[in-house]
Symmetry: C2
């Protein structure tokens, strides 16, 4: 009988390059080994997004929901029942540290409010668990750096929840750009936002969210411009508007910004918490234009080029994300688009954008 | 038998409010009076756009191509044959002034390269002819002011070729915004551009064009943001990129810019001469979002709101434009969205944008 380790060796040898970096068709991402090793994941913070990912993981072959950390005992009970894991894998924030003694949990997915990503990630890393952390990885650059350092010190992986790097339409954009089918990239326009509801939610509370639309969904427009170009911006300019100073007393409502890239390309971007139908990526190259709308939401996404509609399978993003991330961790392989250093870059860009807003749109160089 | 003057009096009394300001369904724009007075138009500058407008005018009931001014005798001959007007209505630039003695020409449509709009408009006005001038009305603010003054002094109308103010989808946007169906306007994103061909054309020559993409098609994004909001911007910031310094040695290639409006709304805009499929208007209000793509080209245009596709007739823009503008002139009625003062505002905004580009994106207040 094969041991888990033997199996891992075998699958690593045969499929190492397959599912991690996504250079192959998406179908390959979903491994189909009934006895494949599984990444056993505990969720930290049991809000609606955690539930969405956990539900999506029910279709993963190599990742499983096996535990939870929450300040609300009733939620732990619900989760334990729904996903069928034992009470021993349930933790409060007080008992979180003792997760280090639990050999049945490999990784912690941090889905708490933004400002808690930093302490929760460091706590999980210190307990020797791999960390998948929702975006934005932190609320500022310093915290992101500390999180990366903590995971390096603990010798655990840190991946940021950039689900779109596993999504077929997004991967097709990256493939076309990488393989030269779009030509030299010339321009990008990315916009992402929505009209936020309940004014009492943590997303509008600066202490918990760290910022507003920019921090929460503007990051899609930043990351999108980066994967549409394959470059990192060297400068930003930004302009804020606030039409509802009560609801958005603490955090940003709508920001427009521009990012200048080393090639000379400029991306023109915007984010909001104040209106809907604002979810689009436009990337113009010298040979073709790739346009996605919606581009960043949970789907179904749609894309077109000059040749017409782009055909890609419509998938549950989080299933593909978790399958891919589990492979990264199980195979000890890097994911250059989703690791802590990539998350840090977005935080460095966000800080530069906020600085430009504070300086009335002054051009700010991004410090990496 | 009715005289022309009697007829004009009659039609004025019965339909004055109908076709000019466009508060009624577009079908009313096309008058249907077989004996209606006609605006007799001579074209100044016989390039491809003049031909497009002249062809479109063949479907107008109240506007007729009756003459031409050109430096190329063979073009005058072609036009005279094609549109069936006499040699007496053909002028060279040397004989242009004598058009004042021709009682069979009411108006001159100036379709020369941008930098000639100023002398050609003033020359036509001094000859006592109404002027319709293509956009951009001039290459700078000073010239636009002189053109307005010259037409006022000569007591002739000056209209700028903003065809979209007569176009059904655009008018539907303006109607929805004006009647409150979009709610309070919150954000606008307008983009317009294309990949320009022949590197020797006048549009790439600064002396003739006055500027590049911004002057030629960026003006649509400016004007679009203005009619989508019903406001005029008070400040701009702008960023230029140039990826081909040879082709775009003299004029701007790609510019992104932002416009701040009195209500606090910011419009995020871009224009280019370097890639295609870049023709879109997005206008978010507190109640609904109006999205047009394409929004500024010759059509067919398409638009949607949260309720789905917007249904409007697909028309030849220039037919509707000329029918409407002829009504303005024949009825001595204003068109507040297409007159010289409106054209001047776009020039004032363009000057501010170029100034911001020159100052590395500094916020520039627009001086009206």
């Amino acid at each position: 009988m094969n041991t888990r380790r033997d199996f891992l060796k075998k699958i690593t040898a045969s499929t190492l390059a397959l599912p991690v970096l996504g250079s192959l068709p998406m179908a390959n991402l979903i491994a189909n080994h009934p006895n494949a090793p599984q990444l056993r994941v505990a969720f930290c913070g049991l809000g609606s997004y955690a539930r969405r990912v956990a539900d999506a993981m029910q279709s993963c072959t190599n990742a499983k929901v096996v535990g939870a950390i929450s300040g609300t005992p009733s939620k732990l009970e619900d989760w334990s029942k729904k996903y069928g894991f034992p009470k021993e894998n349930c933790y409060s924030y007080d008992s979180f540290d003792s997760i280090k003694d639990n050999p049945n949990i490999d990784a912690v997915y941090v889905t708490t409010p933004n400002s808690l990503h930093h302490p929760n990630t460091i706590q999980a890393a210190k307990a020797g668990k791999h960390v998948i952390c929702e975006k934005p990885m932190s609320v500022n650059v310093r915290e992101a750096e500390e999180m990366i350092a903590a995971c390096q010190t603990a010798n655990v992986k840190l991946l940021i929840g950039y689900r779109l790097h596993f999504e077929p339409f997004t991967r097709e954009l990256i493939r076309m750009r990488t393989e030269g089918e779009l030509g030299k990239m010339l321009f990008v326009n990315t916009t992402m936002g929505f009209k936020i509801g309940d004014p009492t939610q943590w997303r509008l509370n600066k202490a918990l969210a760290g910022g507003g639309a920019m921090m929460d969904v503007g990051i899609y427009a930043i990351n999108g411009a980066r994967y549409a170009t394959g470059e990192d911006p060297v400068w930003v300019t930004a302009q804020e508007q606030k039409t509802d100073a009560v609801k958005f007393k603490e955090v940003d409502e709508t920001i427009t910004w521009q990012m200048g890239f080393p090639s000379g390309l400029v991306a023109n971007c915007a984010t909001t918490y104040n209106f809907n139908n604002f979810d689009r990526l436009y990337a113009a190259g010298s040979k073709d234009v790739f346009e996605m709308s919606p581009a960043f939401g949970y789907g179904p996404l749609k894309a077109k080029t000059s040749k017409g509609e782009v055909n890609q399978p419509v998938v549950t993003h989080q299933t593909y994300q978790m399958e891919g991330m589990a492979n990264c961790i199980l195979q000890n392989a890097p994911h250059p688009n989703c690791d802590g250093l990539e998350g840090l870059k977005d935080m460095q860009i966000i800080e530069a954008i906020y600085k430009s807003v504070a300086k009335q749109g002054k051009k700010i160089l991004v410090r990496y």
